[in-house]
């Protein structure tokens, strides 16, 4: 039983227009194991799962499933389900307005002789099923009365009852609290004993070490390796995910300018937002560049959103230049001299149909108020000067910003904040999806602003970038600020700090 192979994907490749999403990726799932699928954003985890479950077609490679002699190809998720491969997503795709029992048996309800639904039998079967899995709920209640964790377990129970051999859990724990997570783990271990193979996608390292047997790591759409949990210390796992060989890590000398000013620009004490980030302390001096590092989902973005007031802080105090700032909305933070370049450019940054000029002047306009319109001549002047200064490639200043490339769009948003001459600028992943040349440009700009007295918080998934620009780094893990690094910073130190745990 132990080493019986349940499912193999071998040499799978998948191309989206312009991008090779998967390149010769393999994964092997055995019966009765929990197999973690890890990788940073864009590594190809979701694509791999979508290929497996028939959401996407793939070009090369084969999928073999225990019980089938020929390689299988799933064309639709339903086909995959019939073969025993079931996926449970982070957002539960059940019907919250139906009862638990209805959800368990929807589409395959037990019928009476007359063809009506046999409610009594359905409820009885549901009760038995959930009892076997140690889930304690009233099956006649509507599903929405239960927490997300229970809903997820119901989804899993449904999968189990449909005779599933391979269960795929796509980031099931992202929106659960600790207690709920541990309940889910009990269920997962229970299923493992029954011989179900589970693929577990997660960003949380702790959870991998808590329940998983094996780990497959993807990186940039390629297979980076398969390991057993025992042979894979945290630090090595992080290094593999980020694509750095631990042995030949060059220590890069930080070229960041040392801040010789002791004036504290921003200081936060016990600032926190329930559900996203645990209370943290933070301070930054005038002209300093501080990095915030951690894996995706570690609370990097949540921390800076809390500082900026995008998420209203429920605890703690924030001082801006010595004065207490109680920001009800971002406009209050802007007025006190903050700026925030969000990580999700499309959803949180761009006003896509408006022109480059309008996008650049918007924040300054908002700070001035609706009745003090910036004269058009001034707007032209601002737009032109920033288009020139940041080398924004656009046909004209009136071109809709949606027509620009990603890097240039990012520069437009940067220009938007530079317009307001902020004292404290937060840059959340400003260099994501941008070519190398522009990245270097961004780093130089950051250092330039700092030398002019601006305090900058810089977040990047690429550690080298931060090493080059930051004088200090905050380390985030699992929604908590776990420490700070200053003084000597090397990639090795930073990565082991990100990984945390008992190593080193």
């Amino acid at each position: 039983m132990e080493d019986q192979i349940l499912l193999t994907m071998r040499g799978v490749s998948k191309t989206f227009p312009g991008v090779k999403a998967l390149d010769n990726v393999s994964i092997t799932l055995r019966k009765g194991e929990i197999h973690a699928l890890m990788g940073e954003n864009g590594a190809g985890k979701s694509t791999l799962i979508k290929v497996l479950t028939g959401v996407h077609a793939f070009e090369e490679g084969e999928i073999r499933l225990d019980g089938f002699d020929e390689p299988i190809i799933n064309h639709t998720p339903i086909e995959a389900q019939k073969r025993g491969i079931v996926t449970v997503y982070q957002e539960v795709n059940l019907c919250p307005n139906l009862s638990v029992a209805e959800n368990l048996f929807i589409g395959r309800e037990p019928k009476t002789k007359l063809g009506y639904i046999d409610w009594r039998k359905m409820n009885k079967l549901s009760r038995e099923l959930l009892k076997r899995l140690d889930i304690d709920v009233d099956v006649t209640q509507t599903l929405e009365n239960y927490s997300l964790a229970i809903q997820q377990m119901v989804a899993i129970a449904r999968a189990v009852d449909m005779d599933c051999k391979a269960l795929i859990l796509d980031e099931p724990t992202s929106s659960l609290d600790e207690n709920e997570v541990s309940k889910l783990f009990v269920l997962m271990r229970h299923l493992r004993e029954k011989g179900v193979g589970i693929i577990f996608v997660t960003h949380f390292l702790e959870q991998v070490y808590a329940v998983c047997d094996r780990i497959t790591v993807l990186r940039n759409g390629e297979f980076a390796g398969e390991y057993t949990v025992a042979e894979m210390p945290r630090f090595k796992l992080v290094a593999t995910m980020l694509g750095k060989d631990v042995d030949d890590l060059d220590s890069i000398k930080p070229e960041g300018c040392e801040s010789n000013c002791d004036e504290i620009a921003v200081e936060a004490v016990g600032l926190g937002h329930k559900g996203t980030i645990k209370p943290f302390d933070f301070h930054i001096r005038k002209g300093e560049v501080v990095g915030v590092t951690g894996l995706l989902g570690s609370g990097r973005t949540e921390m800076v959103r809390c500082l900026y007031g995008a998420d209203h802080a429920q605890s703690g105090t924030l001082k801006m230049k010595g004065k207490v700032l109680k920001a009800k909305a971002p406009i209050d933070s802007i007025k006190s001299g903050m700026g925030y370049l969000p990580d999700d450019r499309k959803a949180d940054g761009l006003i896509s149909e408006l022109s480059v000029r309008e996008n650049i002047v918007l924040a300054l306009q908002a700070r001035q108020g609706v009745f003090k319109t910036l004269p058009l001549a001034k707007q032209y002047e601002l737009a032109d000067s920033f288009i020139e200064m940041l080398h924004i490639k656009t046909a004209t200043r009136e071109t809709p910003v949606s027509q620009l490339s990603g890097g240039n769009q990012q520069k437009v948003i940067l220009a938007r904040w530079l317009c307001t001459h902020p004292d404290f600028l937060i840059l959340d992943e400003p260099t994501r999806g941008i070519d190398i040349g522009t990245k270097t440009e961004f780093q130089k700009l950051i250092l330039k602003f700092a030398s002019e007295g601006m305090s900058v918080v810089f977040i990047s998934s690429e550690i080298e970038e931060m090493l080059r620009t930051c004088t200090r780094m905050c380390v985030m893990r699992d929604g908590e600020k776990v420490g700070e690094i200053d003084g000597e910073m090397t990639q090795e130190i930073v990565m082991s700090a990100i990984a945390g745990g008992e190593e080193k």
């Binding site: 909305a329 969000p342 940054g349 761009l350 006003i351 309008e358 908002a366 319109t373």
Partner: protein
Amino acid sequence: MSSQKWGAVVGFLKRVVKMKMFLPFFCLILVLLINLIKSPGFFSIDIKNGVLFGRLIDILNRGSEIAILAVGQTLVIAVSAGTDISVGSVMSLSACFCCMSLAGYGVSSTNTLAIPMILGILGGILMGGICGVFNGTLVSKLKIQPMVATLILFTAARAIGLLLCNNQITYIRYEPYKYLGNFIPGCPIPTSIFVTAGVILVVAILLKKTSLGLYIQSVGINKRAARLLGINSSKIIFLCYVICGLCAGVAGIVASSRIYSADANNIGLTFELDAILAVALGGNSMAGGKFNLAGSIIGAYTIQAITTTLFAMGVSTDQAPVVKAIIVILIVALQAPVFKTWFANRSLKGKSQVKETVGA
């Protein structure tokens, strides 16, 4: 040579066709052209009894209410990607409130006013504003879908109006009250045209001189980003609904003045649909974001032009909606993205064929 000239003309036409305002204008002119062929008398303007008289004047005059409503509706659609369907009922409520306060509660017909006329009129407009506040609160604060939120006043406002007027039609037989919807003695132009121009002017200045237009578009395109860069998104949404309510109030007073009474059951009936249609005919996206106020106003007059044309042709009142519907379908289809891309592809194909022959 001649081919070059021809090319320049085609190029110019192409540029005109690509202009945002082209299609709304084109449709209005098309409707008017039908009249040129069918009834040339359509365009004549005479002076009878000292006032201007003619079909064109009629379109401008009768189209006033729809145009005023379209102004407010444009902003609401732009900012919230939803429609305010209560404007017709709010018109009725404003008219009733105005007439009730002028005549006194329970009076069904009066020659003398209980309070100064201007106070009654302002009260009526303010009533529209209050309805806007109600709608705006539901949409911006309670985040109820615009259609559902405004459905409340769509059903209730007309009934409240009827209640205010003690379930009867309140007549204001006071000569100056008729001025707004008809003529001011000595002035040959219908007063409602001035009212409409006034409303358009006020809103246009508000959009031009302040940054409200920019804010509305930003919120309509990306509410989250607008909030993060310092715009109070819900306040802007609220404001648009209030403006829309005030517009409905003004339109209600004009409609009431035309018949110098408050007919709760008939004032503004189905006008909300015309107002929404006007915005659509003006080439504005129902998904919010960028908007074009002038387009909506042209759209409003296009609707009135269709109605007037049908009357001029002697189509009976019962059948008019059928013909109107057919024309509207044609206009909307012409502006549909599917059609636009089809046209674009056609012209692209033509170009690529030319290239191929050149290559060969």
